[in-house]
């Protein structure tokens, strides 16, 4: 919990000796409260004060980093609802490979998983993890670990309760810093030693929140804090309850023993239902979601949901305001005007592409506001559009002087024609009307 400057001041020596570089202890306290200076600048702090201050400066949910190359950051969330601030570290989405599948099936699945990369609204969407789950003997598990790790750059999760198998797997791929998932709390102390030895993270798995709390406290004493929590397989509503409790206990009750990222393994087998189950977990606080289905339509829908839930509610996604040529646009191509709110732009883009009419889209700087909002806020005005036409040199790109504006701002037509000297055509209100509009445009 954040301490105020005054709270901190009470813990300082109050001698104003200036060694910290500040004129008074109070000034130093104020900077500490803003986290603008490190604690150790003051050499005279008492042990007790130090402990209190260190605790209070810790994030209520620890940031845990998975893997070596991609370094997936998880946790460190600050709110229960995205409108209160935002969700910071997008849930990692991973796909499970069972070691009892045939070599051929495994090859097919890895190449599928490796191809799960999409681009939507200007952002790259990617799968994050490949999880190898042991259901056969140790030898087979290790073979599959070798096979999968060689075939993918994704970060890895090793799911196995077999301590010896995990140990030997780490011997092979420990440098990749895979997340260890021992599936239960059995032998947790030994697994913790392994995680410490290989400087990697460990899943604390137990159906009981109470046991999880006790385990994380013990492990912290052992020096292992890179932990991820899994409350094991339960009904969907119970899982949502657990995930909600973990987030609330960490944030509202300041219970550090729950201040870690969470992991869920989707239990559903049906190809559609497992995606829906995974979606529920993404919406409700899970930091890692692992599922079996790795078809592009399954991954794309989940990655898109994650993109939505983890977008910043305070800051609409924007694109660079400029003139975008679409397809083989030339001097005869129509010019469509929209805002630089990325959703507006990409919706228009999708429809222009679907129409197969080479065009220009001019995205006007509306500070990321959508057409109607920007119009109401006077960010999407005839003056603004006229000056954008100038700024982007549109008259040098096309041989005509005609622009198409969104149907919702039809009222500005006359004014815009006057201010810009361009002929204004009113387009459809909804982007979905663009293809037929462009077809009928002469």
């Amino acid at each position: 919990m954040a301490l105020s400057g005054l709270d901190i001041y009470k813990l300082l020596p109050k001698t104003n000796c200036r060694e910290c570089g500040f004129p008074t202890c109070l000034a130093f306290a104020m900077q500490l409260a803003k986290k603008a200076v490190p604690l150790d600048k003051c050499p005279y702090l008492s042990k007790e004060a130090k402990l209190v201050l260190e605790e209070s400066s810790l994030a209520p949910i620890r940031l845990v980093v998975i893997g070596k190359d991609k370094k997936i950051e998880l946790g460190n969330e600050t709110v229960l609802f995205r409108h209160e601030d935002k969700f910071y570290h997008p849930a990692a989405i991973g796909f499970i490979i069972d070691d009892n599948s045939s070599d051929k099936e495994i090859d097919v699945k890895i190449s599928k998983i490796n191809r799960l990369k999409f681009e939507r609204v200007g952002q790259a969407l990617e799968a994050n993890l490949a999880a190898i789950r042991q259901t056969s003997d140790k030898k087979r598990f290790l073979d599959v670990v070798k096979k999968v790790s060689a075939a993918t750059q994704l970060e890895l999760v090793l799911i196995s309760s077999d301590l010896q198998a995990q140990k030997e797997a780490l011997g092979l791929i420990g440098a990749r810093k895979p997340l260890l998932h021992p599936q239960s709390a059995q032998n947790i102390a030994d697994f913790a030693k392994l995680a410490l030895e290989y400087k990697t993270s460990l899943v604390v798995a137990s159906p009981s929140l109470e046991e999880i709390s006790n385990l994380t406290k013990d492990l912290k004493k052992q020096g292992l804090e890179d932990l991820v929590l899994d409350t094991a397989s339960k009904s969907l509503a119970k899982k949502i309850w657990d995930l909600t409790q973990i987030r609330r206990l960490a944030l509202k009750k300041k219970d550090r023993s729950f201040g870690y990222p969470t992991l869920v393994i989707v239990g559903e087998k049906d190809p559609y239902l497992q995606v829906v189950e995974a979606a529920d977990y993404i919406a409700k606080y899970a930091s890692i979601v692992l599922l079996e289905g790795a078809e592009p339509w399954q991954a794309l829908s989940l990655l898109t949901l994650r993109q939505n839930i983890y977008s910043d509610p305070q800051k609409p996604l924007q694109i660079e305001p400029k003139l975008y040529p679409i397809g083989q646009a030339d001097e005869k191509s129509p010019v469509l005007v929209t805002t630089n709110f990325s959703l507006s732009y990409y919706t228009v883009l999708g429809e222009v592409e679907a129409s197969k009419t080479p065009s220009y889209i001019m995205s006007v700087n509306t500070e990321g506001m959508s057409v109607l909002t920007a119009w109401a806020a006077e960010k999407f005005t005839p003056e603004k559009i006229a000056s954008s036409l100038e700024e982007f040199g549109v008259k040098d790109k096309v041989g005509h002087k005609r622009i198409i504006i969104p149907g919702y701002v039809a009222v500005m037509s006359g004014d815009l024609e006057e201010k810009s000297g361009w002929q204004v055509v009113v387009g459809p209100k909804e982007a979905s009307g663009i293809p037929s509009f462009l077809k009928n445009l002469k």
Partner: protein, 313 residues
């Protein structure tokens, strides 16, 4: 030591809204955030309504057309198929053909049609206008009268156009859908305006105008979360159940419509469309949706199973 769970004690509860007469369905009455059963009861399951048009949908993609086939030409047969073949417990009729540009059917024709549909359906009905305010103000009161006693859910009304339709619903015993443009203040304001006309709060449902997965879903999602939190904290003028028109939003998107050739590497169109609609609904269930209006029977099945799981506790 047993840990002390972080349970919320809410002072408010969502209103119960009843739709239909004989086989009436109730929604609402949640006492906690979605599916947190240990914190408060939720006596009614969220429900799914099948969307049915009174005219052949010109721009529906193949995935939808093949799911319904011939009945798309005949709204009565279409409704029957939903009820008898797909087991629909709730049907949402969209009266497109009344629109001046889409057929401009007369008030009498529309009223006669909804009567026929009512007889064929035998399940509760949601009635949506054609989207043209002037025309909706004529046809919806006529529908309200024709369906008197059926306790339908009729709408949507907006801040700029609510009086005529609210008065009609009030007179003929129907409930009303209050639509606001992803804005919690307008949602509340409209509920107040409708209440001021004498409409009981238990006969209002909020339509927060949702966007599809990938197309602004998160805006309505957060508005719904905020409204639900306010309602549970005691705000009576936001304590209405939510209706989300998911089908019409999802099936406009590129992801639900484009063929595999157009979107190389994104998977077959049918699965993509179905999952797009199902996942959009799943997300809104997590934000508190009570009624989902959907199109694809397979997507509806998936969402119903998801609801069963979530309600099982």
């Amino acid at each position: 030591m047993a840990i002390e769970l972080a349970k919320e004690k809410w002072s408010g509860v969502i209103n119960q809204v009843k739709i239909g007469a004989a086989k009436a369905i109730s929604v609402g009455q949640e006492q906690a955030l979605p599916f947190l059963h240990e914190e408060g009861g939720a006596p009614h399951k969220p429900v799914v309504a099948y969307e049915v048009w009174d005219t052949v949908p010109a721009d529906w993609p193949e995935a939808l057309i093949s799911a319904y086939g011939n009945v798309l030409k005949d709204p009565v047969a279409w409704v029957k198929k939903c009820v008898t073949e797909f087991g629909a417990q709730l049907v949402a009729i969209k009266l497109i053909s009344a629109h001046p540009d889409m057929g401009n059917k007369s008030v009498e024709e529309i009223a006669a049609l909804v009567e026929k549909i009512k007889k064929a359906a035998g399940v509760p009905l949601i009635i949506s206008g054609c989207g043209d305010n002037a025309k909706d103000n004529l046809i919806l009161p006529a529908c309200a009268e024709a369906l008197k006693g059926e306790n339908c859910l009729i709408g949507s009304v907006t801040q700029d156009n609510y009086k005529t339709i609210t008065a009609a619903c009030l007179a003929d015993g129907h409930s009303i859908i209050a639509e606001s443009p992803i804005d919690i203040n307008i949602a509340k304001q409209l509920n107040i305006l409708i209440s001021d006309m004498g409409m009981p709060a238990e006969r209002i449902v909020i339509n927060p105008t949702v966007g599809a997965l990938g197309y602004g879903l998160e805006y309505a999602y957060s508005i719904m979360e905020r409204a639900r939190l306010a309602a549970l904290s005691g705000d009576k003028m936001l304590s209405m159940p939510f209706i989300c028109f998911v089908g019409q939003e999802t099936w406009r998107t590129k992801e639900a419509r484009a063929t595999e050739e157009e979107l190389a590497g994104w998977g077959p169109a049918l699965e993509r469309g179905i999952v797009w609609e199902a996942l959009t609904s799943a997300a809104f269930l997590q934000a508190g949706a009570d009624i989902l209006v959907m199109r694809h029977p397979k997507a509806i099945d998936i969402v119903k199973k998801n609801i069963e799981e979530l309600m099982r506790g």
